[in-house]
């Protein structure tokens, strides 16, 4: 698998004016040369192969958008090397533009006042898409989603979901090698989210397009990405398969049980019996966090059952969301 994106030790620093407080401070700021340097992206390296879908995650302000902007050529890295489809993006911005598609969830590249089909025609002409490719792309779109009613609707009259869907279709229209999707499902309802995930998945399969997806919705990640990259404060925290991620903090599962008597009280007793595990209780369940490397869930259950009868039980896998939250909050040890 050829690498379509190669990033080596890129760092991006911004100079930010130190603003002072209050009216007098604001006046002083007019003449201030007091800058501080903020490192938005700090020594990140990765390679992405053609056809991969990579989930690019990190808390707000982690440097995700900055990295994406560097890959699209809008920002120039302070140091390090970056190659996208063989081009240095910020040097060959126009050439790079031909090879990439971009959707920023909060912004639309479509022509606001015109029906969608007009935007498609404009894109066809400015990206110089050959007529037969354009036609077959529209046919592909039609087979994936029902675009016919959207095509003749002015973009400004569309719902957010329809607009996002249209923006994604527009980004794929010139059959780019890579598509960057920056929070494509933000603010959408569940049904639209699932529609968009299916669409992205299908387009990736059909066209072997590399997709770089940033999102805060773990549903997107679970549905689409096999590989995820996590950054925080500009530093790379994790770059591996999603399966690895779940074992990242040990293989935890949560055993939930219900027993007779007061749950709070009982959970204290159980905690005493199982000093190695974390036991807690809410109104309905007693939760026991089991590290499967140390003990089997079934043994733990057996132990609990020795001295009391368990009325009900369920087992919860740790979700991607929880793991990611743990990484965001605690970092990688």
């Amino acid at each position: 698998m050829a690498n379509i994106i190669e990033i080596k030790n890129i760092t991006k620093e911004f100079k930010v004016l130190n603003r002072r407080e209050g009216l007098i401070g604001s006046f002083k700021d007019l003449f201030s040369r007091n800058y501080k340097t903020v490192r938005a992206v700090d020594n990140i390296s990765m390679t992405v192969g053609q056809g991969e879908i990579v989930g690019y995650l990190g808390p707000n302000g982690a440097g995700k958008s900055t990295t994406i902007k560097m890959m699209t050529g809008v920002l120039e890295p302070t140091s390090g090397e970056i190659l996208v489809g063989g081009n240095v993006p910020y040097k060959n911005r126009t050439k790079n533009a031909q090879e990439i598609g971009v959707v920023f969830g909060q912004r639309s590249q479509l022509w606001w006042a015109l029906p969608l089909i007009e935007s498609f025609k404009i894109l066809r002409d400015i990206y110089q898409i050959p007529e037969q490719n354009y036609k077959s792309m529209l046919e592909l779109y039609q087979s994936l989603v029902d675009i016919e009613p959207l095509l003749h609707k002015p973009v400004r009259q569309m719902s957010l979901g329809q607009r996002t869907l249209s923006d994604i279709l527009a980004a794929f229209l010139h059959d780019p090698k890579i598509v960057f999707l920056d929070e494509p499902t933000i603010g959408l309802d569940v049904s639209m989210k699932s529609k968009i995930r299916t669409l992205i998945h299908a387009l990736n399969k059909e066209k072997n397009t590399t997709v770089i997806l940033t999102t805060h919705d773990m549903g997107d990640v679970d549905a689409l990405c096999r590989r995820i990259v996590i950054i925080d404060k500009g530093k790379m925290l994790y770059d591996n398969d999603i399966e690895h991620l779940k074992g990242f903090f040990g293989s935890y599962r949560t055993l939930k049980i219900r027993v007779d008597g007061d749950l709070k009280e009982q959970s204290g007793v159980i905690q005493g019996e199982l000093p190695d595990m974390k036991v807690s209780a809410d109104d309905e369940w007693i939760s026991v966090l089991v590290d499967e490397d140390k003990a089997k869930v079934i043994d733990v259950l057996g132990q609990i059952q020795k001295s009391r009868s368990v009325r009900d039980m369920k087992l919860e896998e740790i979700s991607t969301e929880e793991v990611i939250r743990k990484i965001y909050e605690e970092g990688v040890k």
Binding site: Q98, V102, F104
Partner: protein, 267 residues
């Protein structure tokens, strides 16, 4: 194929402009009220001067000039500064930068549809109306050809100035003041609000050499002159050409330098 890339934007611009019928209508009303103000203002100026000819222009000459200048303004004004300022402020400029087209050209062609619409909806009707009302005061002949050539260059110069001013927004991060300043300077020094003939001699010689005069004064002078001598013609068009080339280069260069600020410092 190459040209299609740009003409598609013109086409879209025309469709887009035609969507906003009400706004076109209001613009006509606005222009009309401006013309009424001009009429009474200059009537008063001529009445108080006591002569029929001021600075070599009769009341009718002045009025025809200013009406056509207003029509030309409606046709040539691009609002590029607003567009760029807003794009830079909101960050939408990122989307424009990743189009497979130079942004200066892209914005020009995106707007070009409005030229077509405004030409047919404001300039042409006004021009015809002026021709009919003044009954032959506006010559119709070869001057129309010179005018057409001159207008094309005027548009390019005007765009370069707009683009240049818009680029300033990269540094100021605000649009309003910059835009007002540009508009006042251009409208005054180009002869769009006051014919250059009314400027004091010393100032006029300077202003005539500036690029602004090439935007409104040059095409209007060529339009209203039935038999220009070849020297004036060559000088006017030559001056426009020089400004056209140099302003294009200057605005390009300024953008290139300023773009570094966006790409290096995130804008």
């Amino acid at each position: 194929m190459k040209l299609k890339k740009y003409l598609t934007l013109t086409r879209a611009g025309i469709i887009e402009a035609l969507q906003f019928r009400l706004s076109a209508f209001i613009m006509v009303v606005g222009n009309l009220s401006y013309l009424i103000v001009i009429y009474f203002l200059w009537k008063a100026i001529y009445a108080s001067s006591g002569t029929d000819i001021v600075n070599g222009m009769t009341f009718n000459d002045t009025l025809i000039y200013l009406v056509l200048a207003t029509a030309l303004f409606g046709f040539m004004e691009m609002y590029t500064v607003w567009e760029m300022g807003r794009a830079i402020q909101s960050g939408k400029v990122v989307l424009d930068l990743i189009k497979p087209m130079d942004i200066r050209r892209y914005l020009f062609w995106c707007y070009s549809g409005n030229f077509v619409v405004n030409f047919f909806f404001t300039f042409l009707p006004t021009f015809i109306a002026v021709c009919i009302i003044t009954n032959g005061a506006v010559p119709v002949g070869l001057n129309l050809v010179y005018f057409a050539v001159s207008v094309v260059m005027a548009i390019l110069i005007n765009y370069s100035i707009d683009f240049f001013t818009g680029t300033i927004c990269v540094y100021t991060e605000s649009i309003w003041g910059v835009n007002i300043m540009k508009q006042v300077i251009v409208l005054l020094l180009s002869g769009a609000t006051i014919p250059l003939a009314f400027f004091p001699d010393g100032l006029r010689t300077v202003v005539e050499k500036l690029p602004f005069a090439s935007i409104y004064n040059a095409p209007l002078t060529l339009l209203l002159d039935s038999s220009p001598n070849s020297d004036t013609l060559l000088e006017t068009l030559g001056m426009q050409f020089i400004w056209c080339v140099s302003m294009t280069m200057i605005s390009r260069l300024f953008w290139k330098v300023s773009l570094r600020k966006i790409t290096v410092n995130g804008g």
